[in-house]
């Protein structure tokens, strides 16, 4: 069955490509048209994804908080999030009088576009990847750090003191935590010797890095999850929003669709971060294999690779959602202490261990 699914995906892509190349002679135009198609596909994938994540977040929160969560609109409340989106679209998007209107309106677009760009090199299934560029991992880390510009813009242009404080917090936070995210990604790059996402996934055919890499890679995994939770501004690291302190932080002044775009970006970022964690440490779309258990491995192969990928991603999303509803928020100085005094030194030492492991071939 999985062969069928993968053949259909790749053959669909190649037949579209051959059809387009017969219709359009100019190679540049052909490229642009293909990119546009890919972009539309991404959008079509992202909107339902955000609905699912929004519904999931509310249900996870509800079950942790002795509530039922949304259960009125649609079966089991599944359409509640659609109703909310429709409401947000029809709401008036207010722009404060004293704000810098150009930057104010640009900021949510930048935040969303950046988080969508990061989706490009993610391998959703076997042979199913929008853009398998040779510096995939570097691309993800560098593009995702542009998001902070959007947040700073939003905070500055709102002409609101809370927004400005939130934006400044966010700047300090994202710049700091990027280091730990980068270093934990580097540990995988050292192991595989490639920045290409498909190579990293293929290197885990005989076992996921979290199992193969022993303790150092496990430490990298934990640091990656913590630091990337901070990087996407989710609780307990949501200092830039900090509802109880800053009444909403950088998006205090936003309403309607512009606010919805920040929300959209938050959920896409959540997905991207979890997908990266799944790709780097849990084998991406690779099925779970145990040594020489041929029968077991064969059964595992029958589960479609896209299900493997989404299953791992959603497992990590589930964990990150539980963080949010369990922990209190850190204070701003404690947040930076955690990064500079704990996570960064640990990652540094960890990198050395990983390098030694890679040189000596002590994995697997």
């Amino acid at each position: 069955m999985n062969q069928l699914l993968e053949i259909s995906f790749s053959s669909l892509a190649s037949s579209i490509h051959s059809w387009l190349s017969s219709a359009i002679a100019n190679a540049t135009i052909l490229n642009v048209v293909e990119m546009a198609i890919a972009g539309v596909c991404l959008l079509v994938f992202l909107v339902p994804l955000c609905f699912v994540l929004g519904y999931m977040e509310r249900k996870v929160a509800a079950f942790m908080q002795l509530r039922l969560g949304p259960n009125r609109v649609g079966p089991k409340g599944t359409l509640q999030i659609v109703a909310d989106t429709v409401k947000l679209i029809f709401k008036e998007g207010l722009t404060p009088n004293a704000s810098d209107k150009f930057l104010f309106n640009l900021a949510p677009i930048i935040v969303v576009v950046v988080s969508m760009l990061v989706m490009a090199p993610i391998a959703f299934a076997k042979n199913f990847q929008l853009w398998d560029l040779n510096i995939g991992v570097l691309y993800v880390t560098s593009i995702s750090s542009i998001a902070v510009i959007g947040i700073l813009m939003a905070g500055w242009s709102s002409y609101n003191k809370y927004s400005l404080l939130g934006a400044m917090r966010s700047g300090a936070q994202i710049v700091s935590y990027e280091l730990s995210v980068g270093l934990s990604i580097i540990s995988i790059v050292i192991m595989t010797g490639s920045l290409k996402i498909s190579d990293i996934v293929m290197s885990q055919a005989d076992g996921w890095w979290i199992f193969k890499g022993h303790l150092p890679i496990f430490i990298s995994f934990v640091i990656f999850v913590i630091a990337s939770t901070a990087e996407i501004n989710r609780a307990p690291f949501d200092l830039s929003e900090a509802e109880q302190e800053l009444t909403g932080g950088f998006h205090t002044e936003y309403s309607g669709m512009k606010f919805a775009m920040f929300l959209l970006a938050e959920y896409i970022n959540l997905f991207v971060v979890s997908a990266m964690a799944a790709t780097l440490f849990l084998g991406g779309w690779m099925p779970f294999h145990i040594g020489h258990w041929e029968a077991f491995n064969h059964i595992m192969d029958f589960i479609p690779s896209s299900l493997w990928f989404l299953g791992k991603t959603f497992a990590i999303i589930f964990i990150i959602m539980q963080f949010r509803w369990t922990f209190p928020r850190l204070r701003v100085d404690q947040l930076l202490n955690l990064e500079w005094k704990y996570l960064l030194p640990i990652s540094m030492v960890n990198i050395i261990l990983v390098t030694i492991m890679a040189i000596m071939g002590w994995y697997l």
């Binding site: 404080l165 307990p236 509802e243 109880q244 922990f327 209190p328 928020r329 204070r331």
Partner: protein
């Protein structure tokens, strides 16, 4: 856009923020003007009066039976204890004997009130520090207590159950059983509370050593209640000036040294356990007898001044009545605990961060209508 100006930034570069009157964590319409240097607080100035309803002046027009119920709207989380204080003050003037059963019912309801107030505070503290889930756990137990109030008093928040000379009605027949059930439930949930907030690393980092209030400062600001007791001051009115039969009960005054947010938090948690202890020893031996002493229909206090203080969930509430012998008080003054406690806020919070200010406000446990009255 200019950044300078009295309400945006001072000339020394201090950022001026108006926290409130509409702000998620000022719990009402408190307005704090905060001067910031980066994230560090330089100065805090509370601006009051957004919910002033002149309850004291209003009471001069009300009879001695009626003015009691205006106080339910002061500290609405200790509504019953406020009523009790007024009733006690009037009883002092009338020299009327309160039957033992009425006293016991009053104390039981007062301790239940204290318990539900602390439950709400516990949930809100978590919420203010960014943990949303404890709020719902706290409301689960609080709801059970509120249902007891509803059954016995007819109201959930403003019980209005005290009358001069006793209580308005006898308790509901289910009262004893339900209270015992709720006490069992609360005792079994302490572990959950400890796990989700008290033992949490982030919570301890956010509260330990934050918002220090020294014993001397606490005394000079007139801070009372759990906030003062966490700074090492023994000031429980129930112990020092017992009323309504507290002298016969076995309970401990929770006095802790430390004076930071964490100590204030622990002091209130301990106080909840003491309240459960008080309720448990009273619930099985409610005395039989009348529920109201003998009072005239129109109460007239003799000429003079009467003062009564009680321990609400937040500290010392004083009721001062000046009577000229008429059917309504000549002058009334309330000494409300939150007003004094708020005055210590600046001392506690200068030099801390914005996040700490929220934590400090949460552990002082402010109820804004009580400040403005």
């Amino acid at each position: 856009m200019s950044l300078l100006g009295e309400n945006f930034m001072t000339e020394e570069g201090e950022f001026v923020i108006n926290m409130g009157p509409q702000h998620p964590s000022t719990h009402g319409v408190l307005h704090l003007k905060v001067w910031l240097d980066g994230e560090t607080i330089k100065k805090v100035q509370p601006h009051l009066g957004y919910i002033h309803r002149s309850i004291e002046k209003m009471s001069e027009r009300l009879s001695y039976r009626n003015f009691i119920y205006a106080t339910s709207r002061m500290d609405y989380l200790s509504a019953h204890i406020n009523n009790q204080a007024c009733a006690l003050a009037v009883e002092k003037g009338l020299q009327v004997e309160v039957p033992a059963r009425a006293q016991a019912i009053r104390v039981l309801l007062a301790e239940l009130t204290r318990l539900q107030s602390h439950q709400l505070w516990w949930g809100c503290t978590g919420l203010d520090l960014g943990a949303v889930t404890p709020f719902f756990y706290a409301f689960r137990e609080r709801e059970a207590i509120m249902e007891i109030f509803e059954e016995t008093c007819g109201a959930r928040l403003t019980q209005n159950f005290c009358v001069p000379g006793g209580v308005m009605y006898d308790v509901n027949p289910n009262f004893q059983k339900r209270v015992k059930d709720v006490m069992q439930q609360i005792k079994s949930k302490y572990r959950e509370y400890e796990e989700i907030l008290t033992g949490n690393v982030i919570f301890e980092n956010r509260t330990k050593g934050v918002g220090y209030l020294s014993k001397e400062d606490a005394i000079s600001f007139g801070v009372t209640g759990p906030t003062a007791r966490a700074s090492g001051i023994s000031c429980d009115i129930r112990k020092w000036f017992p009323y309504d039969g507290y002298e016969k009960l076995d309970f401990e005054e929770v006095v802790m040294e430390g004076g930071d947010c964490y100590t204030r938090y622990m002091a209130r948690i301990e106080e909840m356990k003491q309240s459960v202890h008080i309720i448990e020893q009273m619930i099985d031996n409610l005395p039989e007898g009348d529920i109201q002493g003998k009072t005239k229909n129109v109460i007239k206090l003799p000429k003079g001044e009467f003062y009564q203080k009680v321990e609400t969930a937040r500290g010392e509430l004083g009721v001062y009545i000046v009577s000229d012998g008429a059917a309504s008080p000549y002058r009334i003054k309330y000494r409300s605990p939150n007003f004094s406690n708020l005055s210590a806020l600046e001392t506690m919070s200068v030099g801390t961060k914005i996040g700490d200010l929220v934590a400090i406000m949460a552990t002082i446990d402010l109820v804004i209508p009580d400040i403005d009255r």
